[in-house]
């Protein structure tokens, strides 16, 4: 080595190792090819010297050629010499500190949290780590389902149990990537073993294969124990994604109880402050899980937030799982429609067919099949007719309907006049009422000066003058082109074409005068007088509508006769039902969030839209946006905003805490407050508290399978110091590479050998 250093002019002792590298060493085929080529060259050189008689001269010339050829190959392979200074490097020991949320659980009887026990162990054994550092690089990591390097001594600061999940398999794979070859000599794991990916009392084959592959011990320290672990918690609440208003819904609640003794605990389901259901759960020793079915009835549509709770008992390790909130999207069951038909006709028949075939509709229809003047020529027993149950319908069941339709229906003598007032109140309290025309409708049905006239969008002249018996085409006025009633197609141009394609109508109820608050959505001019055909109005909290003709069925059957279908007729009725029943899509003010649930740190994007009464955008409309924490029952903010040119706007919100929130948008117009509301939730994962018990089995197995030690951390007790195999690992500290072919002497020697060969041959008279 000294000679080599001297030859290369390098200071003695600077390098203690060397290595030759070949530029084309990766081309494996090259060296056999070179060998063959070299042998051929030998044969060629030897035969070309056949005329040289002197063996000495022949041998000398052959040697020269061999040397020159060998040097040429040497140069072509571009060798380089790497001089190295090698030194012994320290191997690593990884110290893994479980910082998942379950480490925050208290251990009884001292009431210390699991991570406090780890912190104590680290603080009480600084000498051990100091000694370990003499021989190993000791590297600390915080582990949960993530792997984060930590400062070696800074445990007190960074070590907070915040990880939302524990996955040793995932973490150890990351460790494997960090320590290639065999530089990791072992690990020390401080944990409660509550790895949610592992089943109780089992070590998965994948994890076993992974840990044994390290060929290094994993020493496990159990933080905490299950002795005296006392907890009563709501582990899970399972229910359908949505429920129906006024229809029973059920939630399956899983309770977990540890060391709770024998007691009966109440499980309570609330919405706001109202108790919807409660059940007594009999907690018994030896049983940890309890499934409880709770039935409740949602009383309003929308996203409803419910809270389940059990009492918090003294000494419980986890407090946060004694209550759990969940959300249910409550929708209308089906639209319950009462359809009263004054007489069977094609108009009533086709509407009934549309309603009964609509899966969203629960239809109860009554036809007046005979009047008092009809002579049925049969006894009552031979008829299928039943008395009209008006008392039942307009008192007991009235508020169970979403919509009441009087279809060419004259109320007398079938409904007592006093029930008309009930209908008016029903509408003013949020119900919907529709009157469809015909010879028994409006003033012909005797509704003049009745509560029905009060709620309808039209009032009646005393005589039904202005009767129009001709044909007319109904087209939506431009002003109402965006009205949801007229959306027969998604695209407004296609909708317009659809309206033009519909057959004409015939027959129109006259003597109807639109009220001031009404919207005449379609009218027909007859004899210079515009006659309302479709008119809408809000009446109290409800909505009413008047269809002043009994020929809408033309849009169905006659449309088929014109080569079309009944699709637009069905769509029209679907639109009308949506408007009448205040479907959210028909509201003049709308608000929504981009998601329903947000994890911590995510921003909530709130978008809102305000429309005018004619459903055109309401630009520059001042609106008030307010956000409230439902969970905390606290108003959080209120912002004054304005809609843009499209009548829309947006707002971003960063919820600071977990829980349910509601966002409300309000706009004032014509002394009316329009408002809409949406709900969202910010949540943190609570998986860690679903199986919070110490998994000693897993920690033992990890140690056992890798030749490590398993110990339980105990306050004030010394631990058995973990040891690791001491095998030195050499690392290159410094190196220098010297090219062996790109210098003057390599080329000089080749040229020199060839020149001497040439000169000797010339002297000998050879060619």
């Amino acid at each position: 080595m000294k000679l080599l250093l001297a030859l290369l002019g390098l200071p003695p002792g600077e390098y203690n190792d060397w290595e030759i590298h070949w530029a084309l060493s990766e081309a494996g085929w090259l060296f056999p090819a070179m060998g063959v080529f070299f042998l051929l060259a030998l044969w060629f050189f030897w035969t070309s010297l056949a005329r040289v008689t002197s063996p000495l001269k022949k041998g000398f010339l052959f040697s020269l050629r061999i040397l020159a050829f060998a040097l040429l190959i040497f140069v072509l392979l571009q060798p380089s010499l790497e001089m190295k200074q090698k030194s012994a490097a320290k191997n690593a020991v990884a110290v893994l500190l479980d910082d998942s949320l379950s480490m925050s659980i208290k251990t009884l009887p001292a009431g210390k949290r699991r991570f406090d026990l780890v912190r104590e162990a680290l603080d009480q054994n600084p000498e051990y780590f100091a000694r370990l550092k003499e021989n190993y690089r000791v590297e600390f990591y915080l582990v949960s389902d993530q792997l984060r390097p930590a400062q070696s001594g800074g445990m007190t600061g960074a070590f907070k149990p915040l990880g939302v999940d524990t996955d040793f398999g995932g973490v150890l794979k990351k460790i494997q990537e960090r320590y290639p070859e065999d530089s990791l000599r072992g690990m020390i794991l401080f944990s409660d073993g509550a790895d949610l990916t592992q089943l109780p009392n089992s070590l998965s084959p994948d994890l076993e294969e992974l840990v044994t592959g390290f060929q290094a011990p994993i020493h496990t320290f159990q933080a905490g124990n299950n002795e005296g672990f006392k907890d009563l918690g709501i582990e899970r609440a399972e229910l359908a994604d949505f429920g129906f208003v006024f229809q029973p819904a059920s939630v399956t609640v899983t309770l977990v109880a540890s060391s709770m003794g024998e007691k009966n605990v109440p499980l309570v389901l609330k919405e706001g402050n109202k108790i919807l259901a409660s059940k007594i759960v009999e907690i018994r020793p030896g049983q940890t899980r309890y499934q409880v079915e709770m039935a409740f009835t949602p009383e309003a549509v929308g996203k409803r937030i419910y809270r389940l709770s059990v009492p918090l008992f003294a000494g419980e390790s986890i407090e946060s799982n004694n209550a759990r909130e969940f959300q249910l999207q409550v929708v209308r069951d089906r639209l319950r429609i009462l359809h009263l038909n004054g007489r069977p006709s094609w108009d009533t028949r086709f509407l009934r067919e549309v309603l009964i075939n609509n899966p969203k509709v629960d239809l109860l229809s009554f036809f007046i099949l005979r009047t008092l003047s009809d002579d049925v020529a049969a006894t009552t027993g031979e008829l299928s007719l039943i008395p009209f149950p008006s008392n039942l319908l307009f008192t007991d069941y009235l508020y169970s309907f979403d919509l009441i339709i009087f279809h060419n229906f004259k109320y007398a003598p079938f409904i007592d006049k006093k029930y008309l007032l009930n209908i008016k109140r029903y509408v003013e309290n949020g119900g919907a009422f529709l009157m469809v025309g015909g010879d028994l409708s409006f003033q012909n049905g005797g509704y003049r000066n009745t509560p029905i006239e009060d709620i309808l969008p039209v009032r009646f002249k005393s005589t039904p003058d202005g009767i129009y018996q001709g044909k007319f085409q109904l087209l939506p006025p431009d002003r109402y082109a965006n009205h949801p009633l007229f959306r027969l197609e998604k695209d407004s141009d296609a909708s317009r074409r659809a309206w033009r394609s519909l057959p004409v109508l015939n027959g129109l109820n006259g003597g109807l005068i639109p009220k001031k608050r009404a919207q005449v959505l379609a009218a027909h001019s007859a004899s210079g007088k515009p006659l309302p055909v479709l008119a809408a109005m809000k009446s109290g909290k409800g909505r009413t509508f008047a269809v002043a003709t009994d020929s809408l069925w033309n849009w169905n059957f006659r449309s088929v006769g014109q080569g079309g279908s009944g699709r637009y007729y069905q769509k029209f009725w679907s639109n009308l039902l949506a408007w009448l029943t205040d479907d959210p899509a028909t509201r003049l003010i709308q608000i929504e969030t981009d998601k329903e649930q947000y994890s911590s740190g995510e921003k909530v994007l709130i978008q809102f839209k305000v429309l005018k009464e004619d459903y055109n955008p309401d630009p520059d409309r001042p609106v008030k946006l307010s956000i409230r924490s439902i969970s905390k029952k606290q108003d959080l903010l209120s912002e004054d905003l304005k809609t843009d040119a499209e009548g829309e706007g947006s707002f971003e919100f960063h919820p600071a805490e977990d829980g349910f929130y509601s966002v409300k948008i309000e706009a004032e117009r014509d002394e009316e407050i329009l408002s809409s509301q949406a709900e969202f939730r910010r949540f943190s994962q609570t998986l860690e508290f679903e199986r919070p018990l110490i998994n000693a089995y897993l920690l033992k197995k990890l140690a056992e399978k890798t030749g490590g030690l398993y110990q339980v951390l105990k306050t004030g007790e010394d631990w058995k110091e973990p040891t690791f195999p001491r095998r030195e690992r050499f690392a290159d500290a410094r190196s220098k590479t010297i090219g062996l072919s790109d210098n003057w002497w390599a080329y000089g020697l080749i040229v020199g050998f060839l020149f001497v060969d040439w000169w000797l041959r010339r002297r000998a008279g050879l060619s």
């Binding site: 004054g342 007489r343 069977p344 006709s345 094609w346 108009d347 009533t348 028949r349 086709f350 009934r352 067919e353 009964i356 239809l363 109860l364 229809s365 036809f367 007046i368 099949l369 005979r370 009047t371 009809d374 002579d375 049925v376 020529a377 049969a378 027993g381 031979e382 008829l383 299928s384 007719l385 039943i386 025309g437 015909g438 010879d439 012909n444 005589t463 039904p464 009767i467 129009y468 018996q469 015939n506 027959g507 129109l508 109820n509 003709t549 009994d550 020929s551 069925w553 033309n554 169905n556 059957f557 006659r558 088929v560 006769g561 014109q562 279908s565 009944g566």
Partner: protein, 256 residues
């Protein structure tokens, strides 16, 4: 005020009232029940010319249904076909097969809400008209053949409670029909219903009944009214709310 003045005033009020209500009653003319008779080639397409009018008169007299009494006849190619969702096809002899275009029109008409009552006026078992009808229906709905209409069908309880199928004759004690998506769109009677309904201009029954008395005619008229009522109300009578009462009535009716 004298009695005469009173009389004229009352008369005047009645006229005003009539004029007003008359104007209203004219609206929605096409919503009323009209039953055009189908014209076809070969055979006699109106073997009982007064049958439909008689049925409509009875329907108007006995029920709240408003009718259009005038006699109407249409070919399937008529542009007015879709004004009338109820068609009547009658005959007593074989008729020419419907063209493929006519079959297409009729199939579309029935599939999209139309109703067809076919009435064999021959009063014969396996008549030529019956053969023509069955041939036509097999081409009309090849995958949906004629089937007996069960006794619990709404047709038998849409207005009257009926447990006996008859007509001018008693060829078949049942009705047959074709149902499309739960709606019976075609009803076939082999019992000459029209013959039992038809009256002459003086109001006398035009055809004698075969093998039955006035009860048979009464039942045939009731069946006709029920068929019309079914076309107008569909399965209304099957609504759950009505079932208990109707079933109770049926029980009592049968036990009589």
């Amino acid at each position: 005020m004298t009695k005469r003045t009173n009389f004229y005033l009352t008369l005047g009020l009645i006229v005003v009232q009539w004029a007003a209500s008359g104007a209203v009653w004219a609206m929605g003319e096409y919503s009323r029940l009209a039953i055009p008779q189908i014209k076809y080639q070969g055979g006699d397409y109106k073997p009982r010319p007064q049958a439909v009018e008689s049925l409509l008169i009875q329907t108007a007299k006995r029920t709240s249904v408003e009718v259009k009494r005038e006699f109407l006849e249409l070919s399937l190619a008529s542009k007015d076909l879709y004004r009338y969702p109820f068609l009547y096809l009658a005959g007593a002899a074989a008729f020419d097969p419907f063209s493929s275009e006519e079959l297409k029109i009729l199939r579309r008409y029935l599939s999209y809400g139309g109703f067809l009552l076919i009435d064999d006026a021959s009063a014969e078992v396996h008549s030529e008209f019956d053969r023509s009808v069955r041939e036509m229906i097999s081409q009309l709905f090849p995958h949906n053949p004629l089937q007996k209409i069960p006794k619990d069908h709404s047709i038998f309880r849409s207005f009257y409670l009926i447990d006996e199928v008859t007509g001018r004759a008693r060829v078949n004690p049942f009705l047959e029909g074709v149902s499309l998506k739960g709606r019976t769109a075609l009803v076939y009677s082999a019992n000459d219903l029209g013959g039992a309904w038809a009256r002459d201009k003086l109001g006398h029954w035009k055809y004698d009944l075969i093998g039955g008395g006035q009860r048979q005619r009464k039942l045939a008229i009731r069946l006709g009214i029920n068929i019309a009522m079914y076309a107008l109300t569909l399965d209304y009578k099957k609504d759950m709310v009505h079932l208990p009462i109707i079933l109770e009535r049926l029980r009592r009716y049968h036990s009589q």
